[in-house]
């Protein structure tokens, strides 16, 4: 009943199409988005050239001097936008995977997509000596190939989420051997430049990275507007899903692919920023109790987490900057252990 009262029907294209949204979810998404925006503005003003938030907003509105415009919009904005977009992509990816697998511990980090991206990027750094766009391409290719392998190997009847998890773990273990191999053969200089990428970093991001993540998010939102509603059925489990709708078997691959492509693109743009995809849906579930992790708030949570962690990474050891992934890794790890213990105790892991 509360669900009914909470529901809002939107008719964006006249009478033909309707989207059902939850009011609480809309409010929460807006609030989280505002927070993320505020942190981003704060972050845009910080650096060698300090600006107050009000001045930053003025510059963003087009009112600053030429120097201010250069610093804020051309130097710092790509970093912030990449961070927000990557966070949203990880949040979405984690929420989709966790709901399909009905398992709070599933995320692109655990199932090997990030390891694939790392391997691809490392290959570019150590074998071809590449950087910049080549690095992004390498990471992207690695992540997409890994994602494809996981999806193909995990498909099949009657195994649902568990097979996805186990296949991913196996592939991740294999890739970690391959990564060790590349690191042993690499020169010291290459290892150093690889280390920062392998942690996940937002430093030196530009138009390329912004474009990648923007296009990905737009495509993912389009797919999710069409297929996202099936998540409610899929998370009931394979048997119920195929009883209720004949199409469950066809929709699951679409959604899994969307989730891993989101993670792959985000990783290509910013490196494997650990634990965001895992933690964001869990925070969302606790903010909106009584239901599964909703997608839009999870995306907003992810964006807030990444942009805030990046700010912390810049400030903690200033003037030395840590890669953002170091912060999310150290903060996210205890959350992971807590989730694991809790999920096992209440029997959610299977």
């Amino acid at each position: 009943m509360t669900a009914r009262r909470d529901t809002l029907l939107l008719h964006p294209a006249g009478r033909g199409v309707a989207f059902r949204v939850s009011k609480r979810s809309v409010v929460l998404t807006a609030a989280l988005g505002l927070c993320a925006g505020a942190v981003a503005v704060l972050s845009l003003g910080l650096g060698e050239f300090d600006l107050r938030p009000a001045d930053t907003l003025r510059v963003l509105g087009g009112g600053g001097t030429l120097i201010e415009y250069d610093v804020v919009v051309r130097d710092r904005l790509p970093r912030a936008v990449t961070g927000l977009g990557v966070g949203a992509a990880f949040g979405l990816s984690g929420a989709i995977l966790q709901r399909i697998a009905a398992n709070p511990l599933v995320s692109p980090d655990v199932i090997g997509v990030n390891a694939g991206a790392s391997f691809g990027a490392l290959l570019v750094i150590t074998v071809f000596g590449g950087a910049g766009a080549a690095l992004v391409l390498g990471g992207l290719a690695g992540a997409l190939l890994t994602a494809a392998a996981i999806v193909v190997l995990a498909l099949g009847h009657g195994h649902g989420g568990y097979r996805l998890v186990l296949v991913g773990i196996g592939i991740a273990a294999m890739l970690s051997s391959a990564i060790s191999f590349l690191l042993v053969r690499a020169e010291y200089r290459q290892v150093l430049s690889a280390a920062s990428w392998l942690t996940g970093s937002l430093a030196n991001r530009g138009a390329l990275h912004v474009t990648i993540i923007a296009v990905t998010l737009a495509a993912a939102v389009a797919v999710l507007l069409v297929f996202g509603r099936h998540l409610r059925v899929l998370e009931l489990g394979d048997d119920v899903a195929s009883t209720l709708t004949g199409g469950a078997g066809r929709v699951r691959p679409v959604l899994i692919t969307t989730a891993v492509v989101l993670a792959a693109m985000a990783t290509a743009a910013a490196g494997p920023i650990g634990f965001v995809a895992l933690v964001a849906p869990q925070i969302t579930r606790r903010l909106l109790p009584g239901g599964p992790a909703r997608l839009a708030p999870a995306a907003a949570t992810g964006a807030l987490l990444v942009i805030a962690a990046d700010l912390a990474a810049r400030l903690l050891f200033a003037p030395t900057e840590l890669p953002v992934g170091a912060v999310t890794g150290v903060l996210g790890a205890p959350v992971l252990l807590y989730l694991l213990a809790r999920a096992n105790r209440i029997g959610h892991t299977g």
Partner: protein
Amino acid sequence: MTEGGSSTVAEAQRILTEPAVGARRPSTVARSVSVVAVLVVACGLSLVVGSYPIPLSDVLSAIVSPGTGAVDTIVRHVRIPRTISGLLAGSALGVAGAVMQGLTRNPLAGPGILGINAGASLAVVTAIALGVTTAGGYLWFAFAGAGAAALLVYVLGSLGRGGATPVKLALAGAALSAMVGSMTTVVTLLDAATLDQYRFWAVGSLTRSGADAAAAVGPFLAIGFVLAVAVGGSLNTLALGEDVARSLGTRLVVVRVFAASSVLLLAGAATVIAGPVAFVGLAVPHIARILAGPDYRWIMPLSALLGPALLLLADVAGRLLVQPEQLQVGIVTGLAGGPFFLYLVRRRKVAQL
């Protein structure tokens, strides 16, 4: 496990009353003999093959009547220590995997998947960052890290109803690996020199430790093997389910403590000798099971033979694959073992053992 109670009890009594050796079909004995033969061949290849191939006759003469020539030096100071490392680490990994799979009734159990390698890696990075420079110093860190990780994964994976199911344990291992991996990354990011040392430790290899390391972990290996042999029969009853095992008189707590201690000692010692080596502990008990059936009193000795055979063959393959360079054995087993794990996962009855 799922069939009716009366037949499982009958099966339990049959296994309990049946002598371990005498009632075996001759084919099992024959297979065991052929496993020994494979191991001997693997040892021989490990002594002969390399960037500087040495004929078997020269190897033998270097062993029997050691001289001071280049060939004798290579055999005595490179090939023999490497082969002994493989024998020790391989049998430890094989038996540890068998005990783990029996203890958790989990076909996916193995030191690599369950996060033990990751735990040892973090401990070693910490040791390097703290300024420990000798290989002997790393040993104890690796040992402690492997043990702590194994304990943590097992405790986390056994929480809740149903005990340590394959999915719960594998997830606990993957989660711990992810967590420990990110900590390892932070340590290496803050200190570039540590990163440079660590990347070499992080791949399992049979060339890093000499006689002193083998001697240091020898007692632990011995205790681990004795404990494993002691719980072999109990793992058979445990395979029928906890309730059946208890009603047959198995003291579950004692068995669990013995088996877990055995795994800690063996997996820890293997990591100390060779560094992180993936998938050997996972795959070997499955091969042993194919050869000898479900009796752990057969699986364990066969795993102790198959483990070193597999590890040495992987090491020999690593010497040949990218000549003139050498692939470390951990990389060979990692890349070759992954598909095997995926095969296990894709079988329908993944949850049963």
